[in-house]
Symmetry: none
Subunit: 400 residues, 2 copies
Amino acid sequence: MKEIDVLRSLCVPTESKIVLLVMDGLGDLPTDGQTALERAVTPHLDRLALEGACGLTDPVARGITPGSGPSHLSLFGYDPFKYILGRGILEALGVGVLVGPNDMVARGNFATLSEGKITDRRAGRISSERNMELCRLVNSSLQSVRGIAVELTPGKEHRFVAKFSGEGLCDRLSDADPQKENKPPVGTGAQTEEAATAAAVVNAFIEEVTAVLKDQPRANTILLRGFSKHPTIPTFKELYKLKAAAIANYPMYRGLAKLAGMDILDVGPDISDLFDTLDRHYADYDFFYMHVKRTDSAGEDGDMEAKTKAIEKTDGFIPRILHHNPEVLAVTSDHSTPCLMKAHSWHPNPVIIHGRTAMPDTVTFFSERACSHGYLGRFPAVHVMALLLAHAGKLQKYGA
Amino acid sequence: MKEIDVLRSLCVPTESKIVLLVMDGLGDLPTDGQTALERAVTPHLDRLALEGACGLTDPVARGITPGSGPSHLSLFGYDPFKYILGRGILEALGVGVLVGPNDMVARGNFATLSEGKITDRRAGRISSERNMELCRLVNSSLQSVRGIAVELTPGKEHRFVAKFSGEGLCDRLSDADPQKENKPPVGTGAQTEEAATAAAVVNAFIEEVTAVLKDQPRANTILLRGFSKHPTIPTFKELYKLKAAAIANYPMYRGLAKLAGMDILDVGPDISDLFDTLDRHYADYDFFYMHVKRTDSAGEDGDMEAKTKAIEKTDGFIPRILHHNPEVLAVTSDHSTPCLMKAHSWHPNPVIIHGRTAMPDTVTFFSERACSHGYLGRFPAVHVMALLLAHAGKLQKYGA
């Protein structure tokens, strides 16, 4: 029996509540001797560390730097080597395209076609505004191709997401992108027999879009790649018998939570808005995933000052969670984004589990290095969900 | 998707350099309260521990004492439960026999045959010198058997390695050794149909060698066991896109590195010679495996004084590595060889990873017990390579 199946068999619904607060990209490396988390003044997080059990988690595996997809799946308890999200899906989630079971999405570029060759794969990096206008033009000219509904959603610069909706689509398709410039355009190819219909639809779509764009000076064709259908992922309800809600104000994280079957709650753009939403819906769910983005974006910018401030700001709202007295409050991250590296990294996430049955250990403040001495030890993030369920009294005994 | 396949898919070649310094059998147990590593004065290793990230690795699994084969394979990133080297291969590597894809090797004993029975499986433990003379005699009398080239390479006392070279050899052969004395000799048997040709070659070889040795007083026949062909192991180039070199002055470790596809560099017999070779070839490779043997042999002898000195001597050369400013310097061991036990053991290896993106933790000197408090935690040695590649910036992000 696999561990995940054992876990699933042990879950029981209870009244108890779990709040999982994810500070994206929280883990850091020292600059002038301190990480952002060590520099930040965080009395509330330190109190949680003092009272709770601490540790470090590896998002995927030692040395592996995860994107937001694998790192979140892992934190939600899905084996990140088994559940792999296509690039098209992630791009779609990032721009807020909802993807259902009959939908197939792809990442797209507007590109320049000249004398039978793709001379610019990014159409001169047109502005995001121009991109919006072009998507609107295509959407108004073309609603469906061969009975399949089609829609473009603009991203940044020359990038967009194409969504194909209808029965019988299969995503085993090669990229409709020559990858290099000054090569002729290539259509998509079906990699299995089942995908033949989808390939014909996609190629007809590219042809029709190119006809719509024929008078445009630069953005006169499109390239499509990373075709992906909605992945088959068991929901939080199926796996854990949880009624789960996501409180996140960025599309990518709302989309990832949606894949796990969480309800996506309305929330404003600020950190404080996350806690207002929690207050409003606290009675309605037994699991809350709360996502703070600012820590990650400050890390990506290499802005230690902004990262420190984002941590301090979040710290100030911890009493808003404790006020509800959840059975379990966990604070952690999906991955590290050290200011030093200005990028995601493989470094482990500090984690606190706070609740009546959490072992208070010798860790007295919240930091990467302090948590390395915690009672929870260092473990793969995919085991976090089992710990949260256990601490909330939602797991029965295994065997007699 | 398996972790090793994910890792492989993420590797990118870069200019950055990794030095992996392996002090064989380094881990120890206290004698009079201190391990050899704790007793040794090691200012340079302590500085690496202070500046770098520390931890403990289990060579194979908790409680498992590995031989040099599994412990090195694991350190090189090969699952030691999947990649298993035959005894013949290890014996061959140990005496410096190069084994190619068409070669099959076996461990051999000179033995005494009397009145149709093996009366001494070790031919009275003849001297190593006598062994060399006998191997020379056999090699000069017999160059091939049934079209297969044959060659003996002497080991210590009565032991040698037999190498069979030619097309179509299969190593699924039973041992040509009655295992007990006062039993008749046994030929090898083919364990699969494919191995029938090899079995016939081996049995004819034993018969012809016995004819050559018929007038010898004690060493008048041979026993062969552990038939092994070259194992199929992906190379460092295939797995990690590394241009790797081994700097090791013992045949076993040169042979293990050769199996992993590393270039084997010329090096003299002393510890200092390792660093001279590093200087000469630093520009030519992006991964260096350096192997110090003396720590292990001192442990095997139970000689705490010699082990301490070997550690101190190696410590003195650390600045020679740092002088080149490699992106990553890791210092660890393949397994422990406690002086108290005079043998390999299952105790974990202390490890330091030093480099710009390594987290400086609270460990301030290099020892088994200090490293148990390190930020890297305790983990299977098979994950060391992923960490080295990550710290050297040679791994792309997993997923988006």
